[in-house]
Symmetry: C2
């Protein structure tokens, strides 16, 4: 732990978060007469997370010499879309807690939660339309194109993950997991926030692919770390501990176990994963978790996250080679390590 380094980092993260949340909240219509839409959205955004995605976007814009104002609407759109995904993810995963609060479908029922997520997706598109007033119509469509790619890649990744669970697919390999994470997480949480920030700073669109490797490595490290935290994290993590085991999520740990367990263990695991979620017991989950410890599955995942992080650090130097040596670049450099040092 390096408190002298993380304190200014966290302060700057909070600043980016405040900037983008302000823009985001201003885009939501008044709640009068619409308690079951805008009321729910405001309440949900009141528990929003750390704002990693808008921070990446704003800092990248600043690192390439852009004004933060020029990236504000896209940064707010990223955060809105992220929260829209979370509302629907929680419905799809039957998750009951998020950021230490009951999820939207627990508070208002599944039908209103689905509708609320739809409206949040629509509001993120509204922010991109507003961006045309700042960036001009042509540049705003170029940024819209990034969001179009981001949306579909993320939903493809989500479809892969949900399809695997639905099919009780137990023959997946590590490569499948990494392909899924690239789609589900890396594009929207890492690659596109950087690309969009660079675009807003006026960087040549032809150079944007440099961010793809960086965001891919960092996103994979982030997701694996997140999956490990889901198993090992304490209450401060804000979700149910071991929720992924109840859901049967194909994490790196589970794939490692499916490959490295003994034949009887694999058989029992396969049967357990084939049961409906509601009939998996605490005992089932404890058994899987214990086995993951015994077979080294959790240590295997931790090691994979570390390797992706090392790759991300090298890719950062390439992607931000032309960046200015200012506080935004410094923030990004700290962020790389933060992504896998955080404990929630």
């Amino acid at each position: 732990m390096m408190p002298d380094l993380t304190a200014p980092f966290l302060a700057q993260l909070a600043q980016y978060r405040e900037l983008s949340l302000e823009t985001l909240l201003a885009s939501i219509p008044a709640s009068d007469g619409q308690p079951y839409l805008y009321g729910i959205i405001r309440e949900t955004l009141g528990h929003a997370g750390k704002g990693l995605r808008p921070a990446l976007c704003l800092a990248t814009c600043g690192a390439f010499g852009g004004r933060l104002e020029d990236a504000l609407y896209p940064a707010a759109a990223l955060e809105m879309l992220h929260n829209a995904f979370l509302v629907h993810d929680d419905v799809e995963d039957y998750s009951e807690n998020r950021h230490n609060h009951p999820t939207v479908h627990v508070r208002y029922g599944m039908p209103l939660a689905v509708n609320t997520g739809d409206a949040m997706q629509a509001l993120s598109m509204r922010l991109l339309r507003k961006n045309a007033e700042v960036a001009g119509p042509e540049a705003a469509w170029r940024i819209f194109e990034e969001f179009d790619h981001l949306l579909l890649r993320s939903l493809e990744g989500q479809a892969m993950e949900l399809g695997w669970i639905r099919n009780n697919d137990c023959l997946l390999k590590t490569d499948d997991y990494v392909r899924m994470v690239l789609r589900k997480t890396c594009w929207y949480s890492f690659i596109h926030p950087c690309r969009v920030g660079a675009l807003a700073a006026g960087k040549d669109p032809a150079s944007l692919d440099l961010f793809n490797d960086f965001g891919y490595y960092l996103g994979a490290a982030f997701q694996i770390h997140d999956d490990v935290l889901n198993l090992t994290g304490e209450r401060q993590y804000g979700k149910e501990t071991c929720g992924d085991l109840y859901e049967g999520k194909r994490t790196l740990m589970l794939l490692h176990l499916l490959e490295n367990g003994t034949a009887p263990e694999k058989e029992r695991l396969h049967a357990l994963l084939g049961k409906p979620r509601q009939s998996r017991s605490q005992r089932d989950v404890n058994w899987v978790y214990g086995l993951m410890q015994d077979r080294g599955s959790i240590e295997y995942a931790r090691q994979a996250a570390r390797e992706f992080l090392t790759a991300a650090e090298a890719a950062f130097d390439t992607a931000y080679r032309d960046a200015q040596p200012n506080e935004h670049r410094q923030f990004l450099s700290s962020l790389v390590r933060y992504v896998v040092d955080r404990d929630r």
Copy 2:
């Protein structure tokens, strides 16, 4: 029935449908490796309905002297968005059949159905981005603005309806129903398709509000007729008969009954509507339906639909005053009556 008039009308409706479906299908990425996303979307669109919304859009464009090509992307986006709404509506209403096929969540489970609807909303936005290549960046944003309004109004209307059911609100009046239908149905199904078609034809944006009255009256007539069909329709209607009674939907008939039943009837109705959907029996539903017949609630709704239709006919003449007397205007004029003459 006027078969000599309806045959050419239906042929033209089919033509508009084919044009917009072709554009729409071309926008969906290949299904390879994404059976749980694009595979489901293609399958779902294979059972798409009559294409009322793209027809309204294309015909309005044609009636004001525009080329149909200029309205193709927005028309396809309307149809995609409509189908996205249907996928989520069916999840939210627990509906089991749509267009004579099991609904997406029945075929693939709720989680994948929610994800699929999200992707269809994203694909409709992609069609609007493509439209920038046809209309130019500035005009494409103007059309995007119509979709922004359309999306949020529709989701507001849906939130009202779902909120009323969740709260078991039994004090609603006819006016509340009409306000809800304006949001849930009229904007996206009638008003915006006309406005967008006119914009694509190059009509002055300042004149677009003329379509609002027309679309509002026609949309209300359509929705009331649709609600009546849900109760009285036969198998060809493609949904469960009386599904709205199982769902506890606040239709005009239900509000009429809540106002005109005797005190004991109201009490029983209130209690019945307060039960969870799954515990409403066929016997409950039959009782409500019989009471609606006895109290004249269905005839009341039919009469309201006729009055909205008369208002729509007058508003049509105003809204399309400057339109050319061509086949597109003729189609639109026939469509007004078709909306409440159709039996499915």
